[in-house]
């Protein structure tokens, strides 16, 4: 492998973006690896957490953002708790994910609650969905989750899981659990009725506008 190190300026730029977003001083990391040593997900990651920090230190933005690491991170905070240099790595992972989404390096999966769209999506997912990786899974899940909240004010798990399976392509894995859960009366078939739905919608749209204008300012 060979990496072209960006000029000092670019390097500073990427590191300082992440520093600003996360409020962490990335230079504190002395690459001891304790974060990776304790990370429960490290086995599955393309690059271990300390390597992601290294990429940031060297200004290798592409590398930092393109690995599945940031999407697999479970935000468990084990790394943040044990880091000898007191870096909040989980927060840095958050920042990388947010940055990734902001920069739309990856297209988000659209979502709709209408029955017609469901069918459409279902069909589509049969065609394409099977190749999707964690990144799109996590994105899809987050996306759906928030859209559920936006729409109903609360999470509607049946809808969430159903939609997620349809969209992610892992069609049968979790849906199978459905009947068992229902048997135990675990999940609701009908979403709960939150009276403040409009208010929730307002919160979401306000934030959307705010963030858009902030992004434009930058």
């Amino acid at each position: 492998m060979k990496y072209e190190l960006p000029r000092e300026n670019d390097q500073q730029h990427f590191m300082s973006i992440i520093e600003k977003m996360s409020g962490q001083n990335i230079r504190l990391c002395y690459q001891c690896g304790k974060c990776s040593a304790g990370c429960p997900i490290c086995h599955e990651m393309e690059d271990s957490p300390n390597q992601i920090i290294r990429y940031i230190q060297l200004g290798l933005k592409e590398q930092a953002l393109s690995k599945n690491t940031i999407w697999l991170c479970a935000s468990c905070q084990t790394c943040s708790t044990r880091c000898p240099q007191q870096l909040d790595l989980a927060k840095i992972m958050d920042s990388l994910r947010i940055l990734h989404q902001q920069e739309s390096l990856q297209q988000n999966i659209p979502f709709s609650t209408s029955a017609k769209d469901f069918g459409h999506r279902f069909y589509n997912s049969l065609l394409n969905g099977l190749q999707m990786d964690v990144r799109s899974n996590v994105n899809a899940f987050s996306d759906l989750f928030l859209k559920m909240v936006r729409h109903y004010g609360r999470q509607f798990e049946t809808g969430l899981i159903y939609n997620y399976n349809v969209n992610s392509g892992f069609l049968f894995s979790n849906v199978l659990k459905g009947p068992m859960m229902l048997m135990k009366a675990k999940i609701n078939l009908i979403p709960e009725d939150v009276k403040r739905r409009e208010k929730v919608e307002k919160i979401f749209s306000k934030i959307e506008q705010l963030e858009k204008s902030e992004k434009e300012k930058r």
């Binding site: 690459q31 001891c32 990776s36 040593a37 490290c42 044990r82 000898p84």
Partner: protein, 660 residues
Amino acid sequence: MARIGVFVCWCGSNIAENVDVVEVARYAATLPGVVHSVDYKYMCSDPGQKLITDAIRTQHLDGVVVAACSPRMHEVTYRRTVATVGFNPYLFEMANLREHCSWVHENKAEATIKAKNLVRMMVEKVKQNQPLYQIQIPVTKRALVIGGGIAGIQAALDVAAGGYEVILLEKDPSIGGHMAQLDETFPTLDCSQCIMTPRMVEIVQNPNITLYSYSELDALEGYIGNFTAKIRKKARSVDITKCTGCGVCQQKCPAKVPSEFDEGLSTRGAIYVPFPQAVPNKPVIDREHCIKFTKGKCGLCEKICPAGAIDYNQQDEIVEEKVGAVIVATGYDLLPKDTYAEYGYGQYPDVITSLQFERLVSASGPTNGELKRPSDGKIPQKIVFIQCVGSRDASQGRSYCSKICCMYTAKHTMLYRHKVPKGEAYVFYMDIRAGGKNYDEFVRRAIEEDKAVYIRGRVSKIYLQNGRMVVRGADTLIGGQVEIKADMVVLATAITAPKGIDKFAQKLGVGYDLHHFLSEAHPKLRPVETNSAGIYLAGACQAPKDIPEAVAQAGAAAGKVLGLFGGKNLCREPIVAKVNESTCIGCFICQKACAYGAIEMKGLKDRKGNVIKVVASVNTGKCQGCGACTATCRSNSIELEGYNDQQIYAQINAIGFTND
């Protein structure tokens, strides 16, 4: 009226080229109080110096200003010169026309004006000067060494070899410190006790050395050359003049106490000698654990002691010793392993500290040198060593490197392989710090010959799986997690300052750093001195150190003491603070400003001997002449000789514009 002489130097062309020296001399002669003013090519040459001494005599001068180079260059020269004719050297001042004027300014007219100003300021200052006399401090030529580890032992032996008396103070029942606990030592792998025990014996045999073991310093008073140490000899409960050291008592004692010497891996009695080669080889009773003292029963040792040496009624004894210098060699502690919950919290018996490992492999240790692990006595086939435990760890408040653990861990892997030839040793490290003669070669040998596997990364957790410890770490070189099932884990826990050393340092008036290691006066050029004159440092009390360094520093500290004792009296520059007792209001704000503890309280008495007023008083043995006190006193009652307010204000008052 003052009679000042001014002597303006050309320094060849060094000054004369950029400053009109003749004009400066002419100008000086016009200043009020100046009765004599000349210029000369090389003032520091013999004829130049003679110009000055002659003028002092013929002109009856009471002040001399030499306008030449920096006082840092020739102040000492001229002080000696004027003293040869009985002139008080502190009635002399220098104006710096070379470094601060001719060499830095190009415009000759401007430089000449400046030169005049500088001369005028000095003339005004010297008018305020008072004769001062060197301070002679008589020196008690005995040294106190505190701490009987290798550093303290070496320092005591070196000072004694110079022919002076030494008092060696050790808080534990025996001297030896940590080195006595070690097995073989890097970088040569010679046996620690073999090289140490002879020196310990020498301590008791040397007629110049008095050993107070099981004793502590209660107080240290006085100043350089003249300290009084109050030493508490803790009650041993054994009369060592009677005890023959037969050891029957400790064999029979029913109490069982974890042995400090074996780091808790074995037990000792309540009456005990910490280890077989102890010096002195006489037991003490640990009253906290003795059944006689805690419950009033037992008394077995008294019954069986053939020498009748047991004395339960012995009391602590306070002795006072007068000494002229103190060497502090109080050593270090090891961070307890239970600081790291993720490494098993002291729950897993087979997670041990490096010092415990030393005891486990030591021939004199609890297993007689067979490496058996604490939980079940099995020989560990796979050991994991973890470096930097508690060191270089900001989250633990310790960002420093403990310096010696890289080396002793390499040593441990070797000792392990020598005991268990088929065993596997893994080392988790962040960096290998092996700077020293033959040190890196030593580490390479551990890797290349003794097959230690070094893994670059930290360990995050140790947990049990089916009763076996799993060490989960990272190898940052391959970029992933690694897990090792281990039979034993050795933590290279951080070297820390001994608990309570801050209080102890305050007692001595010695500074300490953030981590409570004692502070040297200057990290490079005065590494064994402290800011308190007459108190020196040796060994790991100053910073983590290995044996070669501890011994070298001990020798250096002894050298300083011998230097101090070598002269007749201690001569000090008279640049010290002085209190005006009639105006001092006794607020002692100055005391807080003084970094040297030089300001003491003094009671002023009336004729009947009643104290009527408490005022500040400067201990000239301790004062270093910084003037911090002077600048703090609100009633202007404390002055720094040589830089007193009148002298500085005289210079300031003279700054006005040169009139011609």
